[in-house]
Homo-oligomer: 311 residues x 2
């Protein structure tokens, strides 16, 4: 009898902690808990407890722990450099901290990179050597897979695609920069898109609930029911998404894109507009074979990729 190998995957977000066990066939257990803890000590203790609890419940040999964190990660040093959604977390040696607590091999990476690796292992990117995963939510997370592996760049900061500039003197972004794709292609996009609707369209939009309180998910549901203004907004959104995809095609020469995150709920409403925006801006040769795919692992992609990294 052989003992099955498994890894523990952890995906730390700004509001949730997700954890699971990953074996050769994919995810075998999963739990999500909301994150009330805030300080490094509190959160790391919670991560330790959750990981121990999962290890006790799982038969087989644990080969290690993959730990995805929401921010800029120096993968060589195993350090979380900066995490916009975890105030106070700066230059935290998360890999060393967790390895000492658990006495296990620990691999650390950015959450978007692990989500991309998850989709590469058991999701929409399976058997596709080169692709970019875009996680569309509060911001645009990017994970770049080249030759089947996450591409990290010199220190681990590759894939911060949301902070590429698509408007030289555009809106100020949360990163401090201006005109970032994040401002036009993530949940804040509608602040930019709504004023471009016709006056009547803008009136309808205001009737929904006011610009600030209508979420992309709300607009997706309206579009699902066939609302013309909502459908129009998603077409406009697709256009901006397509500009960013066009840029990535031109830099990376990659022709497959996997779209995840909350905004992917509206995938069918924006994907054709994104595709035709790319086509309208690119040499035909560049877009031959273009694939814009919906992610298939949903909110578990990050856990799956984190575990897969160790297998």
């Amino acid at each position: 009898m052989t003992t099955e190998r498994y890894a523990i995957g952890i995906d730390l977000g700004g509001t949730n902690l997700k954890i699971g066990t990953v074996g050769e066939t994919g995810l075998t257990a999963f739990r999500q808990t909301s994150l009330r803890e805030r300080t490094v000590d509190e959160v790391m203790n919670l991560v330790e407890r959750e990981a121990r609890s999962f290890a006790q419940q799982t038969t087989g040999t644990c080969v290690g722990v993959g730990f995805g964190v929401p921010g800029i990660v120096d993968v060589k040093q195993g350090v979380l450099v900066r995490a916009p959604n975890l105030p106070g977390w700066q230059d935290v040696a998360v890999q060393q901290l967790l390895a000492e607590k658990l006495q296990q091999r620990v691999e650390v990476d950015n959450d978007a990179n692990f989500a991309a690796l998850g989709e590469a292992s058991f999701g929409a990117g399976r058997d596709i050597p080169n692709f970019v995963m875009l996680t569309l939510g509060t911001g645009i997370g990017g994970g770049i897979i080249l030759n089947g592996k996450v591409w990290h760049g010199d220190r681990g900061f590759a894939g911060e695609v949301g902070h590429t500039v698509i408007e030289i003197d555009g809106a100020t972004c949360t990163c401090g920069g201006r005109g970032c794709w994040d401002e036009y292609g993530a949940s804040r996009a509608f602040r930019y898109l709504v004023p471009k609707l016709s006056p009547d369209g803008q009136k309808v939009f205001r009737q929904w609930a006011g610009v600030e309180s209508v979420t992309p998910e709300d607009i997706a549901k309206l579009a699902d029911r066939g609302d013309a203004i909502a459908l129009k907004l998603w077409q406009m959104y697709g256009r901006v998404l397509g500009i960013g995809i066009h840029n990535l095609i031109n830099v990376l020469g990659v022709t497959t894109f996997v779209i995840g995150g909350g905004i992917a709920a509206a995938f069918n409403h924006f994907v054709e507009a994104a595709r035709s925006e790319v086509a309208s801006r690119s040499y035909p040769a560049n877009t031959q074979g273009l694939k814009i795919l919906k992610a298939t692992l949903g909110p578990q992609a990050g856990v799956i990729g984190a575990g897969y990294k160790l297998l």
Copy 2:
């Protein structure tokens, strides 16, 4: 006695044909001829004659020919898909054509990619595993070196960085797109920058010779002599260059950039502005270790890279 191995490197441009022999220590012979020929047949016959002439003059063993061409190249198929500066050249099987003529191993790539490989082998990028070479001239050529090799993407179209959008509804580009970095960061940049000068500055600029006839090289010379308007223009230029570099840092996580092409004549006048623009838009961690270097191989980089590819 051992016979030294060498390769022939060829760099086909829109106006010139450059050819040379490359050995283990670098370039050993070089010739540039102006290109009056235009059709595929005429140019390929010229290339054959030049290559044969170089082979006859060189002692040692020729291991093959690297052939750099100015356009989008499908490197797997060895096909020049499109060449904006060689009208009529479309879907030309340049690799097969030249291999049959010369009965030699032939490697084909985009000219900017071979220039990057040249700088990686014997130039400013030597011993730097990851960098982007930017060739600043009529357009912005890009060559991406990852782990010491040219990164081609799925088919060979990576590095078309000049056609990334930095202004959503910006000026129409030669590629048919809009708001491409090419429009703001290559020789056409001054059309965009001059109107942003003060009225007095614009008047001075017009006195030089009119917008269309002042070349970047002219403005570089004026700046060398300390002309305040020229210096100001190069600072403005550096800012736009920095935006594109910032974007590449955020996608690729690469922190070294090698700047070549005609506009690099003004390198010292724009590099600090580019660097501070990157810093102003990026997380400090992203720009730690940022190196913006001037290319060292000049107009011979493409020939050197083309030859080096075979060694």
